[in-house]
């Protein structure tokens, strides 16, 4: 089935998932979320792909939340199911066996910010505007952001971002640790491609094991994490054992 809201390209072992709604802002509608889930299942299962880039390049926005015109009339029941759907997408991205780079090409707001945080790390263009405007709209975020943002930038910056609801630029995002690298408009895409291709050249089994272990580090005590690491490393070192 073709995609309506996104496009997938594969080059040099990198799978590019382009959010491509055709509108100025890539809204995370129910259709877009479902297509993203399908896209990540597809790239995860494609052996010719070693790393994934998620981006709205060359558009103006990476992603923004759902359509406010629709959400304004959500019942609690509908909001519950919407959060559940969004969270299942982010779980799909986190559990994708390949590294996923968030290439933040521009406006990244609300659900779009949570989407960026489900990627393994984030590279931003210097025109980035990133915000969590929930408190301005009378809601909290529902796509895992209340847990992920404090873990990425620390509780205090997370509270400032949530409470102010204001957009932050690329340099602030870099200082807080919300994005990992910032490049100028000219440099941005070439650097995303080089980084992704560099990662995709490494053996996939090692990349997958590293991703699983680092994700597990968040939720396990050190000793259990070390046991997991030993098992994974032993397995990798003896590919025919």
């Amino acid at each position: 089935m073709p995609y309506k809201k996104l496009r997938i390209e594969i080059a040099n072992r990198v799978g590019y998932v382009y959010l491509n709604s055709g509108a100025r802002f890539n809204k995370l509608s129910i259709t877009t979320i479902r297509e993203l889930k399908r896209a990540f299942t597809q790239v995860d299962g494609d052996d010719s792909i070693g790393a994934v880039v998620l981006s709205g390049y060359p558009g103006e926005s990476f992603a923004v939340g759902a359509d406010i015109g629709q959400m304004v009339n959500f019942s609690s029941e509908e909001a519950f199911h919407f959060a559940e759907l969004g969270q299942s997408l982010f779980d799909r991205i986190e559990s994708c066996s390949k590294p996923v780079i968030g290439a933040l090409n521009g406006i990244t707001m609300g659900g779009g910010c949570d989407l960026a945080m489900s990627c393994d790390f984030r590279i931003a263009r210097d025109t980035l505007q990133i915000a969590h405007p929930g408190a301005r709209l009378g809601i909290i975020t529902g796509f895992c952001g209340t847990r992920k943002l404090p873990r990425i930038v620390g509780k205090n910056f997370a509270r400032e971002i949530f409470m102010s609801s204001d957009p932050y630029g690329a340099q602030d995002a870099l200082r807080m640790g919300l994005v990992d690298r910032v490049y100028s408009t000219e440099e941005f895409w070439p650097r995303v491609v080089t980084t992704a291709e560099q990662i995709a050249r490494h053996p996939l089994a090692a990349l997958s094991a590293a991703k699983r272990l680092i994700n597990a580090a968040e939720d396990t005590d050190l000793r259990t994490g070390c046991l997991l690491e030993r098992e994974a490393a032993t397995h990798l070192n003896t590919p025919f054992g």
């Binding site: 406010i68 809601i139 529902g142 620390g154 509270r159």
Partner: protein, 255 residues
Amino acid sequence: MPDKLCTIQSKIDGIAIVTVSGSPAVATVELLLSLQRRFATLAGDDHIRGVLLTGTPQGFCCCQRVQNCTLNESARLSSLGQQVMFALEKLGKPCLTVIEQRCTDLGLELALASDFIIAGQGASFGFPAIADGMIPFCGGSQRLARLVGKAKTKEIMFTGDTIDGEEAYRIGLVNRLYPSGEALPRAEELLAHICTRSPSAIRIGGEVVNAGYDIDLATACLLERDAFALCFSRFDQREGMQAFLDKRQPQFSGE
């Protein structure tokens, strides 16, 4: 008399400025009890939408060093201190700390229990009481380690040295740093701005952030999903989204 150590000035825009000077002559327990009463007042007053903790040029949250306690007294003091800091975290209203001077020991513990810290360049932070054989007892070691990492926390606690505003800003202990004397007005501006946002979203969001931080991702996400759904049965959600669509300023009720 002890409540002079900690005074509340309420402003018409719903912001309460809490000046916690303390005094080098006051016993720690007196200052903690004073803070406890103040936080109960702030939590119960619906006219207060946001809180700013600040000190005086003489200091921020100063008190006598704890000395010569029995084991029981010391344990009771730590329980009280931790309750007071949890009470601040559970205020349900945004609470920023402004530091223009020394912020050490109990002062740093208090600042760490607020939502975040804004500092002037002349600020300094640390736990110098280690020199007298004391460690933080109101949750400060746990909050600092979660905020700036274990290594920085150990460096600060083991040496007992204070770090200056620039260093505190660099390691993420303070969110914003301003030239000396400008931190208070800038913090007031930011808090007034935050107070135009939905009080219920801020309260629920703060609670979910705190509750989710120390548990596993899957459970934290369940909690968030339910809290997110709850927002959609409240006035603030309809008002916030309708105002966005109408391109006007929302009038939140906190309901």
